[in-house]
Symmetry: C14
Subunit: 89 residues, 14 copies
């Protein structure tokens, strides 16, 4: 295989891998946080504004790690410096 | 194999892999959240509107990670820049 | 192997893989949600309409991830753009 | 190996794999749901009609993911478009 | 190896694999359901007819997934369309 | 290797594999069921006839999956249609 | 390697594998059952005859799966039809 | 493959791997911390300022490990000294 | 490698493997049973003769599976029919 | 591949691997410590200064292991003695 | 490699493997039994002679499986019939 | 590859591997110890000096195993006797 | 590679493997036993002499399995009969 | 590769592997013991001298298994008899 094909293949593989694997545990983690929030609301309904606010901050933090992975995938597909270098030769 | 075949194969494999693997834990996570919501409703029926609302926001966040994976799969199948580059040569 | 055979094989493999693996955890997750629903009904029979309704919404969300996988499988078998491209040459 | 043999082998492998793997967790999940139902009946015998009904709906949903896998297997064995294409050449 | 041998081997492997792997979790799942039933009878002896009936329906559902796997194995050994096609040439 | 040797080897491997792997979880599952039965008798000695009867039905169901595996092994060793076909040539 | 050596090796490997792997979970399962029996006797000493009897029936069932594996190993070593066929040529 | 292609491929693979794998457990860990915070607020609403502050410090510490991984990925893509050395020859 | 060496190597490997792997879970299982026995004696010192007796019967059953593995190892080292056949040629 | 390329590749791989893998459990561990701290504050708000101080010391210790990994990665990328030796030849 | 070297290597590998792997779970199991004994003594100091006696019998049984593995290792190193056969040629 | 390159590569790989893997469980273990310390302080604030002192001794012991790994990595990178021997030839 | 090198390598590998792997679970097991002893002393300080004595006997038994592994390693490095045989030729 | 290089590489790999892997569970185990000690002190502050003393003896025992691994690593790097033999030729 020539260089262009090789780099294209590698980019495709890693784009899928990074998103496919890297979103697993953030999803699990959000499920955990949401479950804990629901349990807390059921236990202490009066504190639900504080709980909801803390939950949203937490979800944002967790989502950020999933987004790191998504960003790396997008860079590999649409802004890959190695691909640009090779196709520019 | 020539370049076109290779890139086609890689795209097929990663499209299936990304969706097949990347939807596992979001599904599990939603199950966890739903289970927690049901337990909370049983424990505190009066808070069910708050619980339901929080549940739906949480499910949307979790579903988003599954959708990232699905989006990457769709990009690889229907809007793959490497495929377009190769077939355009 | 020529290109047509290679792409056919890859599509068959990924179609089976995506459905076979991607349905595992949605199934587990639905089992979890149903189990939680049954426990909640036993604990609070009066809330059973709310519980059932929430359960069905949740099952629909979870089932959606299984359906993403099934859809990708079906696309790979019956609407595969790479297969169409190759056989059209 | 020629193309016909290759595709036949791949179809056999994936048919067995998809059913063999894809039925694992639905089975586990149904066992979980049934166990929860039995525990709930023991705890609240009066709610047994509601529990049984919810259980059956849940089992149907879970069974559906096992059936997706079985359907893909059957398609690969008896209605495989790639096989038809190759043998029709 | 010629085509006939190859397909024979693949069929043997997948027949054993599908049954050997695909029966694992149904068995585990039935054990779980039976254990839950026994615990429920011990807790609420009066509900034993309902429990037994629900248990049998559940076991039938779970057994069905094991039977899917067994059926695929039997098809691969005794009614394999690819084998028939090859040996008929 | 010629065809006869290849098929013999494959049959030996799968016969051992199917029984060796496929009996693992049925055994575990029976242990679970027996343990639950013993705990239930200790908790509710008066219900021991019902418990024992339900246990035996359950063990029979679980044992059936182990027997599927054993049957496939025996078919592969003593009634293998592919072996008969090859040795009959 | 000639056919005789190949089949001998395969038989040795699978004989060891089947017994070595296939006895793992029956042993674990018997340990579980025995542990449950001991706990039950400690909890309800008066029911010890029933418990012991049920335990022995259960152990016999579990041991049977270990014996299936041992039988397959012995068949592969001392009554292997493929070996007999090859050495009889 | 020549040196440039090889280094490009390796950098792509490790960039995806490092972010994809290295963000898994930080995400899980944040989910755990958030869940604990929510549970603590529900249990002791009066201490919510202290809890929230401690939570944010903790999240920052955990996030830092995810950022180490992201930083290594970015270095490998955009500031890779080996790539610079090779392309400068 | 000639046949004698090959069979010798395979026998050595499987002898070690069968004992090394096959003794793992029996050991664990005996530990479980002993631990349960000790807990039961502490809970109900008066039942210690019954407990001890049941424990010894159970340990004998569990030990039997470890001995199956040891027996297969010894057969493979000291009474291997395939080795005898080859060295007798 | 020549020596320079080989060492470059190895350094890239290990830099990513060491950080990517080596930050997993420190992150998890910090999450555990933070969760325990939050639970402790909720249980004993008066001891929060002691808890917070102990938490920070602990986090520093845990973070140190993540930093060992990051340091090794940085050494491999920016101060690699083997790379310096090779490029200096 | 000639036969002598091959058999020597295999024996070394399996000797280390059998002891290295085969001692893992007996050790764990003894730890479990000792822990249970200590807990039982703490709970019922008066029964400590019975507990200690039962513990020692149990440890002897568990140690026996570790010794099987050690014995096989020693046989492979110092009394290996295959090695004796080869070196005697 | 020549000897120098090979040894350089091996040293790089093992330096990263030893630190990357060998720091995982010490980190987890410190997290466990810190969590236990925090829980103990919350439960018994008066004993906090003793707890803190014991914690620090324990952390030092645990850290020592992480440091063994780090030391081996540093030896492999900066004081590798095999590297010195080869480069001195 | 010649015989001497091969046997040297194998011995090195197995010496490290046997100790590296074979010390894992004894260490874990001792940790378990010590933890149980500490918990028992806290629960029943008066029984501490009995507990300590039993603990030391148990630790000695567990340590013995780690020592089996260490002994095999030392035999492989310093008293390897195969090495002696080869170097004596 | 010549013998010297091969043995050097193997020694480097096993030195890193033995320490990297073999320190994992001792670290975990010490964490467990320390956590148990802290919990015991919190529960029974008066017994803290006995607890501390028992803890230190236990930590020493556990540390010993980590030191076995470290010793084997050091032997492989600095006192390797195979290396001495080869370099002395």
């Amino acid at each position: 295989m020539d260089s262009i094909t090789t780099i294209a293949i590698t980019s495709i593989i890693m784009a899928g891998f990074t998103t496919g694997i890297g979103c697993l545990l953030p999803a699990l983690s959000e499920g955990k946080a949401v479950a804990a929030a629901l349990g807390s609301i059921a236990q202490q309904p009066d504190a639900s504004p504080t709980i909801t606010r803390t939950l949203f901050v937490g979800l944002a933090m967790i989502e950020s790690t999933a987004i790191y992975c998504f960003v790396v995938s997008m860079i590999l597909i649409f802004a890959n410096p190695f691909w640009n270098y090779i196709t520019a030769i």
